[in-house]
């Protein structure tokens, strides 16, 4: 095996007459099959009053359809030893099921059935409301969630990125079953979906089985452009939250480009240099993994110097301009003023001098190495193929890979100067109140 390049499995790609994109990636050695359905619907498609609808619909798609009564989707998968789950993001919602290879028909039947025929009954919506509340409450227990929610709310005044995919509390309380059904009918369907099948299956038989189940579905599912364009920020925005916690916490955000922007590769490199995570090409951990990066700039300037116990950056390419963020948890006894000044110095220096040639070389090595082992296992493969296909196409990965390796130090510096402007900066601080609870 070569040590560089994207080692994506061979694919059979087709589009059904109703608009469903299908990717089949057979791997005769795999003991499992993983079926993913990605819909290009997420919190970007919501509006005030129904924030959190995408996430709620995600829950409802496990609650019954003509073929499966409540609870039967879970039972059908688990009884053959499979696993299933789903997640909702700003730009997409994804459902996946992985089963031993002899049971491919189970997830195919489920996905075909719930693509256009989920029940979403009044009774089940009422019952699920408390579950959704509970999920949100669990997140609210974390200061990091509260800070990030505040950050996006401050940064965006028009664009739907201003609310979290979980939705606002008030909307969760008031949204009706009919609103959820309308939302589902509008955005869900083959025309707005990508079906990915990966693992141990025969491609010809499976293509026939896919066509048999999905071709007859109506061509539903709008993939709509978000019409709201966020105007440029006029000045820095700040907020301070207070509540229980450990040590002060800080998150700073700057407007960042959309996925289609030519500056996307340079922005990804900027994120790697500051925070250490090489995101889409990250060895071993996937891009949601968290680990310490002692060579990253934020870590060296804040954690090594005793100002923070954690410090990193975050940026994922999205359909629309979003935020590039950095976050740091203060070390005990360190004030947020001191932490913020140190963080400013890191940003200023990177904007002024750009990355060193050694940093650029290290980033390239990590991207090459990460890409070489990115596809291991049917579930991970299904995730990667679906992710890139939903954002644009599977070849986006190759383009990103090639352009990441070509990004120059000068381009990264220029992008740092373009992003890290104080007049478009948003700062949210969290000051803990210090209680640790009585027994």
């Amino acid at each position: 095996m070569s040590r560089s390049g994207v080692h994506r499995p061979k694919l059979r790609s087709l589009t059904l007459a109703n608009g469903l994109r299908v990717l089949l990636a057979p791997d005769p050695t795999s003991p499992t099959v993983s079926v993913w359905v990605w819909y290009r619907v997420g919190s970007k498609n919501e509006w005030p009053g129904i924030t959190g609808a995408s996430h709620w619909v995600e829950h409802m798609l496990f609650e019954g359809s003509p073929r499966y009564a409540k609870g039967e989707i879970d039972r059908a998968v688990l009884k053959v030893g499979g696993e299933l789950n789903a997640f909702t993001d700003t730009d997409f919602t994804a459902y996946f099921t992985t089963v031993p290879r002899d049971h491919l028909s189970v997830p195919l039947n489920i996905e075909a059935d719930r693509m256009t025929r989920a029940a979403i009954s009044d009774e089940e919506v009422a019952r699920e409301r408390t579950v959704i509340h509970s999920e949100r409450e669990g997140n609210e227990n974390w200061p990091e969630f509260r800070v990030e929610e505040e950050l996006f709310q401050l940064a965006f005044r028009v664009h739907p990125y201003r609310w979290d995919a979980l939705g606002r509390r008030r909307d969760i309380e008031q949204m009706t079953a009919e609103q959820l059904r309308e939302y589902y009918r509008r955005f869900y369907g083959p025309k707005n979906a990508v079906l990915v099948v990966v693992g141990g299956f025969d491609p010809r038989t499976t293509e026939t089985e896919v066509r048999r189940r999905f071709s007859k579905l109506p061509p539903w599912g709008d993939n709509v452009e978000v019409p709201d364009i966020e105007p440029p920020a006029a000045g820095e925005r700040r907020s301070t939250l207070h509540g229980p916690g450990t040590t002060p916490y800080l998150q700073v955000g700057w407007r960042s480009p959309a996925l289609t922007d030519p500056a996307t590769p340079a922005t990804l490199v900027l994120d790697t240099i500051l925070g250490g995570e090489s995101r889409v090409f990250s060895a071993g951990m996937g891009w949601r993994g968290r680990r310490e990066h002692p060579t990253a700039r934020l870590y060296r300037a804040l954690v090594d110097k005793g100002l923070a116990v954690r410090a990193t950056s975050g940026w994922n390419p999205r359909f629309y301009p979003s935020l590039f963020t950095v976050q740091a948890q203060a070390a005990p006894g360190v004030s947020l003023d001191r932490l913020e000044r140190a963080l400013d110095r890191v940003i200023e220096r990177l904007s002024r001098d750009g990355p060193t040639s050694k940093e650029m070389s290290e980033v390239r090595t990590r991207i090459r190495r990460g890409a070489a082992l990115a596809y291991e296992g049917a579930t991970t493969t299904g995730f990667r193929l679906g992710y890139f296909a939903t954002l644009r196409s599977v070849t986006l990965e190759d383009e990103l890979y090639r352009s990441l390796l070509r990004v120059s130090s000068r381009a990264v510096r220029a992008q740092a100067q373009a992003i890290f402007r104080t007049d478009s900066r948003v700062v949210v601080r969290y000051e803990p109140t210090g209680e640790v609870g009585d027994e």
């Binding site: 095996m1 040590r3 791997d27 050695t29 795999s30 003991p31 499992t32 409540k70 609870g71 879970d74 039972r75 688990l78 009884k79 053959v80 030893g81 499979g82 696993e83 031993p100 290879r101 699920e128 409301r129 408390t130 579950v131 959704i132 509970s134 999920e135 949100r136 409450e137 669990g138 227990n141 509540g243 229980p244 916690g245 450990t246 060895a283 071993g284 951990m285 310490e292 002692p294 060579t295 090594d304 005793g306 116990v309 948890q329 070390a331 005990p332 290290e362 190495r369 082992l373 291991e376 296992g377 049917a378 991970t380 803990p432 109140t433 209680e435 640790v436 609870g437 009585d438 027994e439």
Partner: protein, 423 residues
Amino acid sequence: MSEKLSPLKIEYGEEIDGLTVARQPAPAGVASFSATYVGPAGWGFDPVAEGGTARVANHLLTSGAGRYDRRGLARVLDRAGATLTTECAPESAEVTIWGPAADWKKLLGLLADVVLKPRFASEDLVRVLRQVSERQLRELSQPASRADRELLRATYPEGHPYRSSGLGDARSVARLTPEKIRRFHRGHYTSGDAVLVVTSSAHLPAVEAAARHLFSSFAERRSPKLYLPPVRPRSARTLKVALPGRSQVEIRIGGDSIPRSDPEYAAAFLANEVLGGRAQLSRLFQRVRERGGLVYHASSELEAMRFGGYWAVGAGTGSERWKKVVPLLAKELEQMRLRDVAPSELRQVRESAIGEIPLALESTSDAHELAVDVTYQRLPGDYLFGWPAELRAVRPRDVRAAVDRAMDPRHAVTVLAGPLSGS
């Protein structure tokens, strides 16, 4: 079944000064390799009044070893496309390296350096202690970790290895010095009672030869013995920890349980799966979330370790709803104790547990995790082949009997941590 699972067969090599060497074939088609050292270095071995020693020592292993300082080690891993992770538990501590299969010998050498020649530099200790201090605060202020902490403290007596989370407290970690950490390392990252597990396409003799070459310079061969004071059963009781300003109350119900080697383990495993371990098939998920709509998460775990174990039911809910949820959880536990599980329910849960075994063959990491568990528990190399038959031999009445021994609600501690309005 057995042919499909053949990559899960573990081969044991000859011991190297007491170090057990085990090799598992890599799953078909994968290009990665993984190796783990597990030694008797968990926080159950923390010196008296120096709580936190084991976790700090384990964490520091990734902060430089041999000729590499912390950044040097990070760079060499990045260049190799490899990752190094550590994990500490009450009984043991482990270090795992993962990376390209083609470089397995080089990566195994790096693992040996990390295990045998860590630097424990003063500046790294200072940094890790700052991080530990923040985690201690988090453990106290975060409802989920606070509930876990109080459950174990209420279940186990002073001095019991399972009583703490291993983080120590402000005073105990303030006493730690590089020399104390080195001393702990010498005595506990030993060859005796330790295992080295390798998941690789390389054959056992090659793995053994490499291990003999790389892991032959342990300072100690002795096997430290873990002391578990007796746990006296007490009647059920409830603890409440008020954490105002939070949104959700975390609930835990649990107690002492059996070790993995217990003859009733298979029945206890299935009891836990029926109750809350088998995700969406379990009673807690079905009845508390799906039917009651009261929680987002409700599950149970059976932590059966080598020398002992504990069980816990966990759920999170709103500041008012906990009053409805706690009786529901208690009722489900009581049902497990009083009534036999229906044969159809047992069959469904059991076949699900058996059916999922091939999912572990998706990647080196998944397969390796199973191999480390089997090897650490000193189970036979073909253990996973016999596991389905062991589960199929369990009858409904065995499950009920196992609940009495392994998950007995009559001696359980209930902990509530969070915004307890109206309590």
